[in-house]
């Protein structure tokens, strides 16, 4: 459903879409059922001259079951949704798979800095590639990211990955993704960060491994001198 409008470009984006789809089916069913019963009762019991309303306390067991049965049904469906949601949550946020590569993402009012590991695939080496507002990754490679912020809260959101994580000054927050298709997509900051909040767009550029190797080679030496003056680890706080 979501992927009709927003492409699905990570290994877990399909799983998240499936949870949304299941929740839509369950809640949609209940919503329509409840509205049909509701409007049905209104039209059925519109006041008619000479007809007195029924006197029902709703306290007797055979009356109360009209509330208790839906109650248990709600509980049962809640359990289904909880199980599905928590499973996906674990895959996306808790169980990080082994990384093939790690990128460092630093936010500030109102720009993104992306530190790529460069040709040697290691961070904090001279061939690191630092870019502003442009993240280069390749398909079918598991990436870890390290989020940090220089000033206020920001949030790293890549809608095509169905990925979102707040960035907090003083902390480094880790997460992962694995792109599945090439393309260029929006990166959003989704936590209000001041007057330039709307001026913080960035792009993620997903390349084939071959394209990415060329990008690495072309960019590694040239931009080595723009490494940020303070590395995120010097910002203090918890590792």
């Amino acid at each position: 459903m979501i992927d009709q409008y927003v492409e699905s470009a990570s290994t877990f984006s399909g799983d998240i879409d499936n949870v949304i789809w299941v929740v839509l089916l369950i809640t949609g069913f209940w919503f329509i059922l409840a509205e049909v019963v509701f409007f049905g009762l209104i039209f059925k019991f519109l006041a008619k001259p000479g007809v007195k309303a029924k006197y029902v306390s709703g306290e007797k067991p055979h009356e109360k079951r009209w509330v208790t049965l839906p109650h248990y049904a709600t509980l049962a469906f809640d359990v289904v949704i909880i199980v599905l949601a928590i499973k996906v949550w674990h895959d996306v946020k808790i169980n990080l798979p082994e990384a093939d590569s790690t990128v460092r993402i630093i936010s500030q009012q109102w720009a993104w800095t992306f530190v790529h590991p460069g040709p040697d695939n290691k961070l904090d080496t001279p061939d690191d590639i630092t870019t502003v507002d442009e993240l280069h990754v390749e398909t079918d490679k598991t990436y870890h990211f390290e989020l940090s912020s220089r000033d206020v809260l920001h949030s790293f959101s890549v809608p095509v990955f169905r990925l979102k994580q707040d960035m907090i000054p003083g902390r480094i927050i880790k997460g992962w993704f694995k792109p599945t298709q090439t393309g260029q997509y929006d990166i959003q900051c989704t936590e209000i960060c001041g007057i330039g909040h709307a001026l913080m767009p960035a792009r993620i550029i997903i390349e084939t491994p071959a394209q990415h190797r060329i990008w690495n080679q072309n960019n590694a030496p040239k931009v080595a001198d723009v490494t940020p003056t303070t590395t995120p680890t010097q910002l203090g706080g918890m590792p």
């Binding site: 409840a34 509205e35 206020v152 809260l153 949030s155």
Partner: protein, 574 residues
């Protein structure tokens, strides 16, 4: 102190209060619960203009970026943030709270439990005066150097804590100060409500004879009082961070910005139920009267409301799933969040069950009450998408969230208030409201309301994130049709705002020129309808009532009449 003794003391206290008073003493310095209720009501309506005007300005900017908005001018990024912040804070803290809790609580509690006034009338006056002061501080913050606060109604630090980040040093502090003052005002009101209901119920009124709306306001007041402490403490800490350079929320000084989020949402989520429950109570009163039915399972409603209240203290972190809390915490809060759907759904089932076998009259208040159920259902089910942690990763901070909570808050704050105002209007002003114009206003509000927010669900599903004043910097959000949806929602908003003029004209015309109302125009059972319309100072000139039965004895098989007032002795059974 026994109830009878309390009544006697009140009679004595009010013995000298009936002579003529000046305008100021009577309307601005009054201790009469009804006048204070009206002060809250009209202040709330006035603040709704501010909430409405701000949403007009920023929705116009979204639909037509860069245009000069008629009546406002060009909306800059700074303006946009201040407008959305003000819209959110005003609509929740200065419209929903004063109208639903303070105005209705003050007006209804003494009348519905059959006493002459609140137990602490002077505290009540102070409560309104603090509230008025808080409104003035908030409005004044627009005119200070730097302008009004623009860090969203949730006011997350470090953005809200430091002037160099927010660029509104004074505005941020005034916003916080206004919010803290407002909470103090409602704390005083809450103490009053709870004490009054515990001590001043009419003789014979047992706990299960108290009308649901009074119960709901009491449960809401308890929730509010239990949850607001941490937030007031947090507000003071944030104020210190802003003005004294402390570092409670500053990581460079050993603080933690996420602490504020916990303090805020520990209050913020129960707050949803603080305003929801009174609205639910209003709906219970209205659907029973206009379907001439006993409320289906009174005790179930009560227990589910209490259950909702208790559970609401254990769900706050679902606002913070992706905020950097330990991701394992999301499991716990996902479970509690989905569990709270059970009591709330049950309340809705009970209301639907009440309609069964009724004799339904579609008056204006009944239309509003039914619309509340129909619309709130959508708000409820869409909450499941956000409570399910896995799905929330995608939907968090998108327009899907905005559409979801407007489907809960709009029914609460507006549909609920319109239901209450149109239902109790004859009692409040002694006049009837015009039904035809009432229905025009109803349809003119409900249809555009859905036309505004259904497109926002779609925009959220397509990835529109919140608090962005111009989407043109995001190529993926300018795909075909997306701007059309934004324009459509804005046009629907203009229609909705235009139809509110109908309400205002009907309200003021009816106050002065409406048809005269009898004491009990709806043939309702509850005690307020036994007092004259409008009730004089002291409420029950014929003597304080006695209570013989519960509030929802409609269409009793032993009775010719289809209603049975709570005050009518059993002997009169016919």
């Amino acid at each position: 102190m026994s109830t009878a003794a309390a009544h006697a003391e009140h009679d004595h206290a009010h013995g000298h209060a009936h002579h003529d008073e000046g305008f100021i003493k009577k309307y601005l310095w009054s201790t009469d619960h009804k006048i204070i209720a009206m002060q809250y009501l009209f202040t709330g309506i006035f603040m709704a203009f501010i909430g409405g005007f701000t949403v007009y300005a920023f929705r116009m900017q979204l639909a037509f970026p860069g245009m000069s908005v008629p009546g406002y001018g060009r909306v800059t990024a700074t303006d946009y943030n201040a407008l959305v912040t003000t819209h959110g804070s005003v609509m929740i803290f200065w419209v929903a709270m004063p109208v639903l809790i303070a105005a209705l609580g003050n007006y209804l509690i003494p009348l519905m439990i059959g006493c002459d006034d609140m137990v602490f009338p002077r505290l009540n006056r102070l409560s309104y005066q603090l509230f008025l002061l808080s409104s003035i501080v908030l409005i004044a913050s627009f005119y200070v150097p730097g302008g009004a606060f623009g860090g969203a109604w949730t006011s997350y630090p470090p953005l809200s804590a430091k002037a160099e980040y927010s660029l509104t040093g004074l505005g941020s502090s005034m916003w916080l100060f206004a919010v803290a003052l407002e909470f103090a005002a409602f704390l005083l009101g809450g103490i009053n409500f709870i004490t009054t209901v515990m001590n001043s119920r009419a003789p014979g009124m047992k706990m299960f004879d108290v009308p649901i709306v009074v119960w709901m306001i009491i449960i809401a007041s308890i929730l509010f009082m239990a949850s607001v402490g941490p937030l007031i403490a947090g507000a003071v800490m944030l104020l210190f961070d802003q003005q004294l350079g402390t570092g409670f929320f500053d990581p460079a000084k050993g603080g933690d910005p996420v602490l504020w989020q916990h303090l805020f949402w520990f209050f913020g989520h129960p707050e949803v139920y603080v305003v929801l429950l009174p609205a639910m109570g209003i709906v219970a009163e209205i659907i029973t009267v206009f379907s001439r039915k006993k409320l289906f399972a009174y005790k179930t409603v009560l227990y589910t409301a209490i259950g909702t209240g208790v559970l609401s203290f254990f769900v706050w972190a679902h606002h913070q799933f992706i905020a950097g809390i330990d991701p394992r915490m999301a499991n716990v809060f996902s479970v509690t969040t989905l569990l709270i759907s059970i009591p709330v759904a049950e309340m809705v089932f009970v209301y639907i069950g009440t309609l069964y076998g009724g004799s339904i009259r579609l008056t204006t208040p009944m239309l509003w009450a039914l619309a509340f159920i129909a619309e709130f259902l959508l708000g409820g089910v869409t909450g499941i998408f956000l409570g399910a942690s896995g799905a929330d990763i995608y939907f968090h901070d998108t327009y899907f969230v905005i559409a979801h909570f407007h489907y809960t808050f709009f029914p609460i704050a507006f549909i609920g208030s319109f239901a209450a105002i149109t239902y109790w209007f004859p009692k409040m002003f002694g006049k009837m409201m015009n039904e035809t114009w009432g229905k025009v206003h109803f349809w003119g509000t409900i249809i555009p309301f859905n036309a505004i927010f259904i497109p926002l669900f779609l925009l959220g599903a397509r990835g529109d994130h919140r608090r962005i004043y111009d989407y043109r910097h995001f190529p993926d959000l300018m795909k075909a049709g997306m701007q059309d949806l934004r324009v459509f929602a804005t046009l629907a908003l203009l229609v909705l705002l235009a139809f509110q003029v109908v309400f205002l004209v009907n309200l003021f015309y009816s106050i002065f020129r409406g048809e005269k109302a009898s004491a009990n125009p709806w043939n309702a059972n509850t005690l307020e309808w036994q007092a004259p319309s409008p009730p004089p100072h002291g409420n029950f000139p014929q003597g304080l009532p006695n209570v013989y039965r519960g509030p929802y004895e409609y269409s009793h098989p032993d009775r010719q009449d289809d209603y049975w007032p709570q005050t009518e002795p059993d002997a009169a059974k016919s």
